[in-house]
């Protein structure tokens, strides 16, 4: 057997209570394209950061070209000829193409930069490698994301790498650009480069890769050949199967439509989105990074202005100009970054719980401390928030309890619509169950709840309907009781675009009967 170009063995990495990587093996043969797939949170990016020398593995070895290391720093990794193309484009926006390509390794005459030579050389390299012409004198900020991606790849190629690692390179690209990128990557392989390609778009993986390692829950569960293994099978391997009895969903009869989106679109992020959300209904929204689901939610938070279509709140056309505006119109927002947006970490539990509804506790500008204390004690008890007392700072609480505070502050306010962004990320099972119960209670009280989550079993467990987005459009809409994770994931990865036929006929009676 030949020596592999890259071999990671038994890599483990732990962050606090989370075992991000649990003995992962990755073997990449020389001159091949090796795919690495997994759901969000399966450990792909942690593994790459270990390989890049950004994280230090708790245990395991890295072998590059037959040389073994326990850990590496970024400089060593580079010296070994391993280069990375990151998802974000690390190029200064104000630089010209020539400057961005060569900074750090400038072409010079004596002490001075040869700007013209750099521009010429940049044009030559781009033509030679990629058959591309950029407008002369263009600045990085004037290029589109595919062009920046190409520039980034060219920059990496200047260093004559042996192994190129692409970390979700196609996320912000449109279809045509993706095809171009895949052609470029194939050409690089044919020139003898070894390539690691990380993506959750299974179609790309299938058409590109020679071998695929599937990660799930921090373990490498399978190494398959995509030419003999179907996408559906790979998708099944990716899905988290550890579904417990932790999901609760009360039966609620949906009422009238509260929130409706008609033909909503925003630039490249998403387009032509039609959605309706009824009273008492829990709607799931999912999609992989780059699907536009996150951006859609940001629009409903009032953070991203849609450019086309309309938002109807209780039948009236509404423009959400800011998150303050959204809150004023009766929309409760629970963002994913709890610490920066959801709660004020240095304020007390009481202050956080009453912050969203201060007007209810104040008279003539003064706060009624007794009423505040009563209300927050009640909420702490109801939600089971584990805290030393209502005056403890929220940052002392665990993630799950912080999330309960973030949710709890909206409870007293009678909101019509709740928008939850990844409500259960980073919290333990026990707290998850209580969050799910809370969501169920909101629906019972007649609120409309929209949950964005990439945890598919969770969505199936706690929602009524699930909308799946793929590359900016709604790829499918499913009844949560009749769909499984494989289906959802296949839809989200673009493996199959199946608007469930059973759903179309059943949806209307569904509301009537439940």
């Amino acid at each position: 057997m030949t020596v592999p170009a890259l071999h990671l063995q038994g890599i483990a990495k732990r962050f606090g209570p989370t075992q991000a990587l649990d003995g992962v093996d990755l073997r990449v043969e020389r001159g091949s394209i090796h795919g690495l797939v997994g759901e969000n949170g399966a450990g792909k990016s942690t593994l790459i950061k270990v390989l890049a020398g950004i994280y230090r593995a708790d245990s395991g070895t890295l072998t590059v070209d037959g040389q073994s290391f326990a850990d590496l720093n970024p400089h060593q990794v580079e010296a070994l000829g391993v280069h990375f193309i990151h998802q974000e484009r690390l190029l200064p926006p104000g630089f010209t193409v020539g400057e961005a390509l060569f900074f750090g390794h400038e072409l010079r005459r004596g002490p001075f930069i040869r700007r013209r030579a750099q521009d010429r050389e940049a044009a030559r390299l781009l033509r030679e490698y990629f058959d591309l012409e950029f407008p002369p004198g263009a600045l990085v900020r004037e290029l589109d994301s595919a062009q920046r991606q190409v520039l980034q790849i060219t920059r990496a190629l200047l260093a004559r790498p042996k192994i190129l690692v692409f970390d979700e390179p196609s996320v912000s690209l449109v279809k045509r650009e993706v095809d171009q990128l895949l052609a470029i990557i194939r050409r690089l392989r044919d020139q003898g480069l070894t390539i690691v390609y990380i993506s959750h778009y299974l179609q790309e993986i299938e058409s590109l890769c020679d071998q695929v390692t599937v990660l799930r829950n921090g373990r490498a569960v399978a190494v398959v050949d995509p030419r003999t293994t179907s996408i559906a099978h790979i998708a099944r391997l990716m899905v988290n199967r550890e579904v417990g009895e932790m999901y609760t969903k009360p039966v609620v009869t949906p009422g009238e439509v509260v929130l409706e989106l008609k033909g909503l679109g925003a630039g490249l992020a998403y387009r032509d989105i039609n959605l309706s959300l009824r009273r008492g209904q829990v709607l799931g929204l999912t999609g992989l990074v780059g699907s536009g689901a996150k951006e859609l939610l940001r629009s409903l938070f009032g953070l991203l202005q849609p450019e086309a279509g309309s938002v109807h709140l209780q039948g009236r056309i509404t423009r959400l100009t800011s998150s303050r505006d959204a809150v004023r119109k009766g929309i409760a927002l629970v963002p994913e970054e709890r610490c920066s947006h959801g709660v004020a970490p240095q304020l007390s539990v009481l202050e956080n719980l009453t912050l969203a509804g201060l007007s209810r506790f104040s008279r003539w500008g003064l706060l009624n401390a007794a009423a505040e204390a009563r209300e927050s004690d009640q909420l702490i008890a109801e939600l089971g928030i584990k805290t030393a007392g209502r005056d403890a700072a929220v940052q002392q609480l665990s993630g799950g309890n912080q999330q309960k505070v973030a949710l709890g502050k909206w409870l007293g306010r009678d909101c019509k619509v709740y928008l939850l962004d990844e409500p259960s990320v980073g919290i333990d099972i026990g707290a998850k169950v209580e969050i799910y119960r809370l969501i169920g209670r909101l629906a019972q009280q007649g609120a409309a709840v929209l949950v964005l989550s990439s945890d598919l079993p969770e969505l199936i467990g706690i929602t009524d309907r699930i909308v799946v987005m793929h590359r900016g459009t709604v790829a499918g809409e499913f009844d949560a009781r009749q769909v499984d994770s494989d289906h959802l994931l296949a839809c989200a990865t673009g493996a199959r675009e199946i608007p469930d036929p059973s759903l179309e006929s059943e949806r209307e009676p569904d509301y009537a009967s439940v």
């Binding site: 200064p92 104000g94 630089f95 900074f103 002490p111 001075f112």
Partner: protein, 331 residues
């Protein structure tokens, strides 16, 4: 913030960019034209050379600030800033005058003065790079520290002094152009070559504009930022010689230069396609302000109007360029 909301519109944004780029140059030309018509002798070679010479102190300080802004990023609040430049000039001038009066050799006092400027730069570099204080606060603190040291040295009085160097700087002429004007142009040329045409300059821009990208390219971000404060310190010492020559010794009140220096460095960014601080732009901005002051003097307009104009310029330039940049960041 209504201004930024208006600028967020593409059309207004484009108009704003146009106004900022072309408008600033047009404004410059218009001001020159107005003074040329209304002020006697404004365009005479002697007056122009005079403006160049009078701009030397401000200009050299502003070059230093320009380097710091390039290396720290042009965000006014969190980016690179050196508020201690003017105070550093005061201290260096006081040090030079004291050493010179104490009877040291010419080259000794010159060398020690340059070292003093460098030391202040190094202090700023340490607080910003090692202690990670925001430059705005770090250099505000060092400004007060340095101003205090200057007071200790001078007892808040003028230290008159005289030396061959100061004599040449103050009275020398070459090709009928005062030596101070040559100093300004030579410093501009040297720093222009270093910042706009050497790998060091390009990397400094990369560090300021996108530190993560610079780090990914293997550049030591901290070292570049530190070096920009050293350059600023050297500029302050160089300007101190000019100031000592101009006033025949160290004077009090050097801190009043600060507003003009900040105005010039940020105004300088407007004279570039990319709206970033740069040495030629700073030179233009220095001369713009120099001609403005000169024209006001020729027309007998009270000099405090100049302060008002400077303040308005700072507000306009900083508000417009940050609004435009915010829009670009969002794309």
């Amino acid at each position: 913030m209504p201004a930024s909301e208006i600028l967020a519109q593409p059309l207004f944004r484009r108009l704003g960019l146009l106004l900022l780029r072309r408008g600033s140059l047009l404004g410059f030309v218009a001001i020159l034209a107005v003074f040329a018509v209304s002020a006697p002798n404004f365009l005479s070679p002697g007056n122009i050379a005079n403006v160049f010479a009078q701009s030397a102190i401000l200009g050299i300080l502003a070059f230093g600030l320009t380097c710091v802004v390039i290396g720290g990023g042009s965000n006014v609040v969190s980016g690179g800033l050196d508020l201690s430049l003017a105070a550093n000039l005061g201290l260096c001038a006081a040090v030079y005058s004291s050493l010179n009066n104490a009877g040291l050799q010419g080259w000794e006092s010159i060398g020690l003065t340059l070292l003093c400027g460098l030391a202040v730069g190094a202090l700023n570099g340490i607080t910003v790079v090692v202690l990670r204080l925001p430059p705005l606060l770090a250099t505000l603190a060092s400004m007060n520290l340095i101003a205090g040291l200057e007071l200790v040295l001078t007892h808040n009085s003028v230290l008159p002094t005289d030396s061959a160097l100061l004599d040449i700087l103050a009275n020398g002429e070459w090709l009928q152009v005062p030596v101070l004007a040559w100093v300004l142009l030579v410093v501009a040329l040297l720093l222009g070559l270093l910042i706009q045409h050497s790998p060091y300059g390009l990397r400094l821009y990369a560090v300021g504009e996108y530190p993560e990208a610079a780090r990914a390219a293997g550049l030591g971000v901290g070292r570049y930022v530190f070096s920009s404060y050293l350059i600023a310190g050297l500029c302050a010492a160089t300007a101190a010689f000019c100031s000592s020559a101009y006033f025949s010794g160290s004077t009090t009140g050097s801190g009043e230069l600060l507003l003009s220096v900040v105005a010039i460095a940020f105004l300088g960014g407007v004279f570039s396609r990319r709206l970033v601080a740069n040495i030629p732009g700073t030179l233009l901005a220095t001369l713009l302000l120099g001609f403005l002051i000169n024209g006001f003097q020729l027309l007998n307009i009270a000099s405090f109007w100049v302060n008002g104009v400077q303040g308005v310029l700072i507000l306009l330039v900083v508000a417009m360029s940050s609004a435009l940049r915010k829009e670009e960041g969002g794309l």
